[in-house]
Symmetry: D2
């Protein structure tokens, strides 16, 4: 609950923008998994700010230390403590905002909920909160990859009005995604997206976008109906990411416009296994994975912190004009790609262990 | 987990299509709340089959009995047992399907997960599973209504290609919604939706749709960041409903196409309180309610069980043709309206109690 | 939480003394386990009142119905609904107690906590609450027995000042335990215990006792350190049983008086496996089972409801004299034996599934 | 689960003996509570090794850093990260034990459970694991003290065969407890206990003991029946502490020998409130606090690691002789006092927030 996620494979994260550090405790990771800081750093590097002209220029190396749970390069089965110190803090940037809650940011709601809030405004609503997720997700991914061959790849599929053509779900890789800073594997779209983001930045504005994700090699049987259907856990995970406003699995909202005869995924024998001819279901039926790729899309709103002046009100209700001075991203989706992958990994790892227990629990 | 939902206000549901009954245990409902079977029956009646030509004609009175937790018309604070016996069972309808997994249904995945499945196919994937949710949700609603004045209203906002114009979120009521069997409060759209559904039924086919929902009078401060943001819990709840493929809060996927300057909800003093001029945020910022109406949309795919012949494969991979004989809905959204309301209520009740504890926990 | 117990193998119970019924929902029981009402009834029969002169003469057949989750005699992996209707209710017996909280009963605390309480006084503090535990525990036992060969046997080892000699932990059976109504397998002690109980009853008084329990064939590796050590989960389970005041595992409080050189259990090769020569550890080291029998003791206080007059105060603080008229047990331990077994089974089943998931989660 | 404890007030701990550090994440602590590292350090200092001749001479300053969740000396309501670096590591001390599992330690069970174990043997079975508990417990105590005036005091009440006379539960303080290194407030007993411990150390042996604890000013109404009775949560918490073999609340095992007429706590008006004349119940009835002091005892076995030679077997089953070279405590109870207090605080804080939510949840 709150800053804890998962049941058997569980993570607790901590840290806000201007404290000593951010991090996570991963509890329930299976033992004997090769794990080093480099495994985790790779995804943190994809998430960190300062990656180029389309992201914020806050400078953070975001170097992770494994505090516990790993010895001689192998997980012990005990909690894995992960810490990333905060370095480049400029709380002064936020001085003006003490009295004016940023529109569509969390300053107001944190104040109403807790009666107090961090100097930086929204506290845990800072993007730095997601470091703990990405670090923990990298651990989950290592387990999923070694134990089940699961592959998780996310990419930017939309920025503003532009939607990129869908890549082949069976072959898309992170390398392809990372060819462009904007993390869209379609080169033409990537170029246009970059233009859109730069235009927003020049206008001291921001822009929304969509991240798509596929999880391959998820075996049939993962997901716990009724309330912990695999898509329900994924939706929970994705909507918990800052700035997310929507989630679609498989056909999604387009599926709501279809007839059953077109939408149903007929079974067919392929490679000696029962597979489906189409995959409108998104790899899940009745809340349980069916062996097809699990694919979904996540909608991100435009960042709330913008440089251009906004007419709003201060905490006392007096009219006020706010123009943010802090460093901020004009568009979050390029950096959100590893966050989406991390959250998918956390859901799948937890689900995998629960189903493995059920399947193995009856040895006779 | 699995068939349990919620932390402090918690429900466990049980029952499949052809067993003795379906129901729920509500654990953690506050004491001294007036509650009778009639409070619950009202929503069950809106959910039950046989409501008219656009729903299945399976006949079930779906009469609920309160087994425990209520005395002299008041909740005791102890678990509330709720039971709805099953009556109109025709397992014979499912005989043909023993060997052919229905496309896009849960027959195959239940078999792969559990190595066994109910006579009716998907077991808990039956629509009857949702009775437990609706019954428990009605209890949650009673609490939310009396304690906080919360009002939850859902309606059908889309069927197939048709989208109805949005009603006024501040004034829409269940009475308005129930004027038409299809549960769309816009009369013109309701008529067209009915046509679309009947056309699908005549074609022995099915059709998808969208349910919208608003929760009014949610006070500022509900929702537990980071991982249990209010929208994340709602997304989890909604994607756990059978046939749901998507969830959007506030601006949703449309918000991903907008710029921040247009999307941000500026603050304004209204009625002596800080409110927002627009509500693209959907009443939630940083995972915490801000006092504005919480509104969201849920996409339902077309029902998988259709009368028309489908080319598919049996469990052994042999080509097979399936034409379902069971009674089934051509479109689920009219009956899904109370289910969406129930799940929203379960999320809000749990969230309310956690925040109330925090707020009251520091009496000094 | 509250009336829910367990993580992966989870039970939610409901029902108080004078409502329609008591029962449980078992969520997470593995599929394909042979299960019938007879499996459950056997333990309910050992728990029910009216078994003879040393128990209450409230008459309840306590007949269980499986509402869901089982088809053709096999579990489906879906929630198992269990219901036992209440029949022999005499709320009139409790009329006098409306204004006088019974000393050491839960009337006062339920009133303070909930601001309301059931006609019968303590509501869920009624002994009938334990029916749900016993029913759910019988399901857990069936799984543990078939999947792992686990055997759980509890017995009465003390009544009042009398302690019975310890039986052989490796061979004691329920048949041996049930030779005497008092459920002490040592015939001489059983006779004396019966005398002690009858003497208490004749004095319109009550008497405490101790239940011991052994769990055999628990494989090494069960239990989740740090906070969910196997003994911690067992202690939680046992202290949740009404009237329990203490729990000891292995050497227990006597171990606190020993030196390490005497208390340590040295390893020895036996039957090709590393075993321990002694078992002061109670089959658990570091919170994890070590393959030796898990054994523990549970202290039950004398029942609070007694026929003899007690000088106390009413809810307003006025001096009052209370002499209970209800039917009640002079000593709970004979009927507590199946309750202790049930709670042990619920802990072990949950623990088994979590460890099985960990062990199987890394197939390579 | 595992290294996570609590529902609403929740802690996740991490760290073993020879990694970079140990610590905890406290999630769900209410906001606006004054908190500094000094608040936490006080209890860590009472727990740390090297306090004198009766404890291990491992040197650790055990200095805590608050990583997050506190700003300007006040809690933010966000997760509080706590870190204590490890310094004085001598893994060489454990070299011999790689092949010989220490009797009654966790080397064998960790190996069986995880298939791997830390260089130090039992990994999280190290006493250093308890640092995270004590640090988190100090946070819980600060909240309980300020919000409710709760006072928690534990002391050593037994070492070996010696039991100290009970202090007055209403007035005993930590200052009184800390008068002697052995933490027994009865001076005569403290002296004898010290003798017993030194004698054990001289014999290269160890000795068990008992810690008693009282929690004052717990208001009526805390504790969640059925399964989360206050005493059940306390038992769970205490049995999760390394080396604990038993738990008694109120009358405990002695209560099992009593008659109801002697054991019942009659009500009486005192200070305008309904109180009880005696307190055999231990401040809890039906799982709910009744306003009287909550008091309980915890049995600790003698430490398993002893210097004297023990005949045992190595991992392969070959006979072996083990004489531990590591630094270890001859008796854990003096240092266990703050651990017992910490675990009691964690239980009470969680319970308080849940009940506060219930009580406040129905404002009308």
């Amino acid at each position: 609950m709150s800053s804890t996620f998962g049941n058997v494979f569980r993570v607790a994260t901590f840290g806000e923008s201007h404290c000593k550090g951010v991090g996570a405790v991963v509890d329930g990771c299976p033992p004997q998994i090769p794990l080093s800081e480099a495994d985790i750093q790779a995804q943190l590097d994809r998430r960190r700010p300062g990656q180029g002209k389309i992201t914020t220029d806050r400078r953070e190396s975001d170097t992770v230390a494994i505090l516990s749970g790993v010895e001689n390069g192998l997980t012990l089965g005990t909690p894995i403590g992960l810490l990333v110190p905060n370095r480049d803090q400029r709380p002064g940037d936020y001085a003006e905002m003490r009295n004016i809650p940023r529109p569509s940011h969390a300053d107001y709601t944190y104040q109403m909920k807790y009666g107090i809030r961090a100097a930086s405004g929204g506290g845990r609503a800072s993007a730095r909160e997601t470091i703990g997720r990405v670090a923990a997700g990298a651990v989950a991914e290592k387990f999923l990859s070694l134990a089940w061959g699961v592959e998780i790849v996310a990419w930017v599929s939309g920025v503003g009005e532009l939607s990129a053509p869908a890549p082949d779900l069976g072959t898309i890789t992170r390398d392809m995604v990372d060819q462009a800073l904007v993390r869209c594997p379609d080169p033409a779209s990537a170029g246009q997206m970059t233009e859109i983001i730069l235009a927003a930045r020049e206008a001291a504005d921001s822009i929304g976008g969509v991240v798509s994700c596929v999880c391959r090699n998820v075996p049939p049987g993962w997901g716990e109906p009724v309330f912990d259907k695999l898509e329900a856990r994924l939706a929970h995970a994705m909507l918990s990411i800052p700035a997310v406003k929507g989630f679609e699995i498989g056909s999604g909202f387009a599926g709501a416009r279809m007839r059953g005869s077109a939408h149903n995924d007929p079974f067919v024998l392929r490679g000696g296994q029962l597979r489906t001819r189409t995959n409108y279901s998104g790899g899940i039926q009745g809340g349980i994975s069916n062996g097809e790729p699990v694919w979904f899309r996540v909608a991100f709103k435009p960042p709330a912190t913008i440089g251009r002046a906004q007419e709003t009100a201060d905490f006392d209700g007096n009219p006020a004009v706010l123009a943010a001075k802090g460093r901020h991203d004009p568009c979050v989706v390029p950096r959100a790609v590893p966050i989406v992958e991390a959250m998918a990994a956390l859901v799948l790892a937890d689900t995998a262990l629960i189903q493995a227990g059920r399947a193995a629990g009856f040895p006779g």
